[in-house]
Symmetry: C3
């Protein structure tokens, strides 16, 4: 119950973030809906398809479909006033990636995958909705360029496997991992920490 | 038989539309062939992969492979004179999305998915070949921005489920749904109706 | 053993090529790692997902994961001096696509697919990592525009099926196909041969 509420809050934040980017690109209502959808379920869809869980998760859980459609609708209606929600949305988003990371790791474990692959699946679940959103909007994905975002998920994943042996009760471990992801992200945003960009002038090697 | 002829006409229209966009981007023959292919089978491929029908449909039906290769070849050879075919191609394309919508809905139903998901699958089958084409050509997908295209498919899908209870014979229902999609699209193009674009200035919320 | 060494050399070349493109786009370390990964395993992942081999290959073989991470790390560390490796990298890349082509054809055959589809799978395995890399970096894929690259893979695939009846021992056939792909690519690069670009002015047909 508790987890489901969090999951829905995360989905709302992702869907609204997608809708906002789409409106910023002057898309029509259909485009806005699709981008909201892809942002919210894209990461999990890629994960499911690559692991072989099909039909993919969101097709079997209508709650998320309704939540996403409502969120997109809400974002369109209140697009002029959504700035007042800036802080709430950032919080939802941060909660969302924390939970999505844990869900992705879990899915990988159930499929019997190697810990490193599980961490990759957690990060993909949390981050690749945003990557797909940026590709559809014809941008270089923002998380490849300037934010501690995926890094928070990766650190959460590493924490998971470091602590795995000490916890009988997975639920407590999940909460800890979620808190690690959130803390890293919040600190990075608060103190404007980002990874350095690497640069290599194009000399046409390959 | 009747349906298969329509399916092939749709595939021809999609493949030629892809080849034209690729040539407009100054691609080489290989690029033109790939874009023609992706435009024609991309929507169905995404649908199959997400539902779990693998190997995906076009790998098991060589007719479509031959039709697409021939269409791309034709588009390249007659690229200077293809304007004379403008109206036929538009008609094929409109017939194509009507049929693809129905095929997508059917596929969803057979997989036991919820009606809303089936409508999404129908729309995806009809429209996402064009979306993938635009991504590969580094454009924001045109259907997100300015055309009643997906909307026609969605209205067709809604019609399907509204009328489902009244028809014993699925074939008649399919024809009706196809006609709805075609009519909406033709009216929209004839009277230059499009969805309004939504706009939200970027204030960097998330 | 011999094949595995070649496979790893190819993976190294692909991962480094991805990392270099990502650095050229001023990505951060996370972005560089992801692009290296996608370039190295993207083609095989698409192939596996479309055929239905899941979890996809690289999730079940940690060797490649370690090779890719190390290659990306290496590319970042030595990015200023990597020009000295220009020729080795080009060679690895050429060896890589030769082997990936053969691996893709094999995978298609095992899945019982039509020879044409197998050739497509071979070409996809070899080339679509680079296509995905370019999409993530917001470029029109380079192989659609100016290089004999995919063409070499296609010619290798055709050779495979032309000679299939004459060889009891598949291994010899693989080596021959690999040599065809390499030879075509090396000759094309040496004599700067490329496919002509086709051009069709946009008159907004569809």
């Amino acid at each position: 119950m508790f987890f489901q509420v969090i999951d829905i809050l995360g989905t709302i934040a992702f869907a609204i973030s997608g809708a906002l980017v789409a409106m910023n690109k002057r898309m029509d209502p259909f485009g806005v809906l699709i981008i909201a959808f892809v942002t919210a379920v894209g990461g999990g869809t890629l994960r499911d398809v690559m692991i072989g869980i099909e039909p993919v998760s969101w097709m079997r859980n209508m709650t998320f479909v309704y939540v996403i459609i409502s969120s997109a609708f809400f974002a369109v209606l209140f697009r002029k006033r959504i700035n007042y929600l800036r802080k709430s949305l950032f919080l939802f988003d941060t909660i969302g990636i924390s939970l999505y990371t844990v869900v992705g790791i879990e899915t990988g474990l159930i499929a019997g995958l190697h810990p490193l692959i599980c961490i990759a699946m957690g990060t993909m679940t949390a981050c690749f909705g945003g990557v797909l959103r940026d590709i559809l909007c014809n941008e270089i994905p923002v998380i490849f360029r300037k934010e501690i975002y995926a890094t928070a998920c990766i650190l959460g994943g590493i924490t998971y496997f470091l602590l795995l042996q000490f916890f009988e009760d997975r639920n407590i471990l999940f909460v800890i991992v979620g808190l690690v992801v959130m803390t890293v992200r919040l600190i990075a945003v608060r103190y404007k920490i980002s990874l350095p960009t690497l640069y290599k002038k194009d000399e046409g090697i390959l």
